[in-house]
């Protein structure tokens, strides 16, 4: 089998992993080497499904000895199998990198032989890249559940980011669908890495202390393969952000790859809208200072398919609105539907100098169609200043059909670089 065929098989096998971010590490090229890290991350291209490609994302091998129901690489599938040699993988990474196709390598693997034997291979590739080739680009290593702490620790020394995917948002369902796995086996490496990173950050460091996972950890959950509610999913991800200090939690709408009676039928469409709403909720938690319990609770356990979670929150809390942009806190401005982080910052820095008029808001990119019901502004007609959620709801639902799927871009381009923010008057 030639390298091109291997690359196709092992790239294809890795493509269901959503994470492709190259953010969180800032580093210059090592002496005599090549490659740097850009803390905002850099997207290099977008595949035909609109997902950003930033790293060379491949499996080391897809010859898995496990049999997870939801996975294309499971042992019981009859598919072509391939395994890279470390040399091939290193060459590919460096050649792609020099041509600026990628920010670095995202290396994962099916479990071949034993977890330790697999992890050993991944660590070896990372170590060669860093030490022999003096590679300063981004490396994301998957932590294989069941691998020994020694190997996990070593991985943390060479990789920028590591991840263990939960995949199924509840332990019971996971054990049902992936008989060889359980939450214990997934949380153990996660917690181990989180603790080592904490120790590293707390400990005494000199310029020479090797960094430990500078870009932290991430994980991924499949949405729609098992019966969890959005509340369960958000609660779990809030836990990851707080306890394991995860940098990102990804959601992946389930795409039926296997015929299996434990899973939705092969004809099921991936729940893209639900995935999109979950990303919006996640976005609110990470950038808009929302807590997960503000977004959903036991009486509303699922996100509204017709309305984005921010508008949903605003309609449930008419008591906070309308707000005065001239005096309101930044946090409160962020909660106005139709106002994003960038415009909120502009408003706060501009309002010290002059009154913010609707005309300016429009130019800043505020979606007045939505925002006008929630702000108190001399230019807004008085009859709009009282908020009746029942009347407002239909007005905020932009289009009746779920045609908003292409709003993804705002959500899925987290690694879009934001070159030095202009600090004008902030």
């Amino acid at each position: 089998m030639n390298l091109q065929e291997k690359l196709n098989i092992l790239g294809d096998a890795a493509k269901y992993d959503v994470s492709c971010s190259s953010s969180g590490s800032s580093r210059g090229a090592p002496k005599g080497g090549l490659g740097s890290g850009c803390s905002a991350g850099i997207c290099h291209t977008w595949s035909a499904d609109g997902r950003c490609i930033s790293l060379l994302k491949v499996l080391f091998s897809n010859a898995c000895k496990y049999d997870c129901a939801y996975c294309i690489n499971r042992r019981s599938n009859d598919i072509p199998r391939a395994t890279f040699t470390p040399r091939e993988l290193i060459d590919l990474t460096l050649e792609f990198y020099r041509r600026n196709y990628i920010e670095g390598l995202f290396l994962s693997s099916a479990v071949v032989g034993s977890p330790d034997a697999t992890m050993e291979k991944l660590v070896y590739v990372a170590k060669e890249l860093r030490t022999v080739h003096r590679f300063g680009g981004y490396i994301h290593l998957k932590a294989i559940p069941g691998a020994s702490p020694r190997l996990l620790y070593e991985a943390g020394l060479y990789a920028d980011r590591s991840s263990v995917n939960v995949e199924i948002p509840s332990d019971r369902q996971l054990q049902y669908l992936a008989p060889e796995k359980n939450y214990e086996s997934i949380f153990r490496p996660m917690n181990f890495l989180a603790e080592r990173k904490l120790e590293y950050s707390a400990g005494k460091r000199s310029r020479y202390t090797p960094k430990f996972l500078p870009a932290g950890q991430s994980t991924q959950m499949i949405v729609g393969a098992s019966g969890e509610s959005d509340l369960q999913i958000l609660r779990l991800s809030a836990g990851f952000y707080h306890q394991q200090r995860m940098k990102r939690v990804y959601f992946s709408g389930y795409i039926p790859v296997n015929a299996d009676k434990r899973l939705p039928a092969l004809t099921t469409k991936p729940p893209l809208l639900r995935e999109h709403r979950l990303y919006q909720a996640d976005w609110l938690m990470r950038f808009y200072h929302f807590g997960h319990e503000e977004i959903l609770d036991e009486s509303n356990p699922n996100l509204d398919p017709d309305l984005d979670p921010k508008a949903m929150w605003a309609l449930r809390h008419p008591e906070f609105f309308p707000i005065d942009l001239q005096t309101a806190d930044y946090e409160m401005i962020l909660r106005v539907p139709g106002i994003g982080v960038k415009s909120a910052q502009l408003i706060v820095s501009g309002r010290r100098f002059c009154k913010i008029r609707l005309e300016q808001l429009k130019k800043m990119g505020v979606v007045l169609k939505r925002a006008k019901y929630f702000i108190f502004n001399p230019d807004v007609p008085a009859n709009l200043r009282r908020l009746y959620p029942e009347m407002l709801r239909p007005l905020l639902i932009a289009r009746p059909k779920p045609a908003q799927l292409d709003f993804f871009s705002q959500l899925q381009a987290p690694s879009l670089p934001a070159p030095a923010q202009l600090s004008i008057a902030v």
Binding site: S47, S54, F353, C354, A425
Partner: protein, 269 residues
Amino acid sequence: MSLSISYDSSFDGFLSVVFETYRQRLDVGDIVPERPYDSDVTPSVDLFMQPFHVETNADSASRLRRAVVNMAGEDVLNLLETAFRSEERGVEMKILAYLRVLFSKSDPGFARNPTSSEMLPLFLLARAVRHEAGGMLGMVRFNKAPDGSYIAEIEPKYDILEMIVGHFRGRFPNGRWAIVDVKRCYGAFYDGRHTEILDLPDTDTLSRSIAEKAPPDEFTRMWKSYYDTMAIKERLNPRLLRRCLPVRYWKHLHERQQNLAGPASRPTA
């Protein structure tokens, strides 16, 4: 009669124009760059304006720079220059409008207020230019030449080559590489130590000679086929793709090209 002022299209040239408008109390009707590659921007003959040319003068430009830094700050000067890189028709008059209010000292809060009616358009324009420069960091595609150097062609909407060179110098400090803006016909050349910015011959010859010097190779083809496998067919979304990766960039992205056979199949112009 007001003047239609032409200048050499450089930022220093524009600053010289501003300097002269103050020194000679010119009545400015329009400011028009002489830009060889932008045929649609060549000044239409306006019967109500008198043509006038200002030569670039490094000294007056630097005096003006100092004045802006003193009154508004380094970052504002930087913002103006970034907005200027957009090469948008009429950006000169917008910057002039901002500078006029700034120099009139009528409002102490004006200099650094991003939401004033003079500043907001420049602020947004600069943001768009930065955005493209940031995106271009990922979209430069090098081909390897037989002598071991790497060459990339870009064709950005805005004039951002000089904004991205530092990134690549930091990333490939030991290699030899060049990034060429084939629309504006100039390139940045790095020899392992220094970067040089050089003007180059016209677009067609340029593109052809680069294609001959560094044609796509096996890694280019592997990249293309890797790219194709990464798309999940159940999720295909052409509109989303176009929004994230506007079609105008595809020409220089190997992965978006249908045929990677060789230089002959490259789309022309």
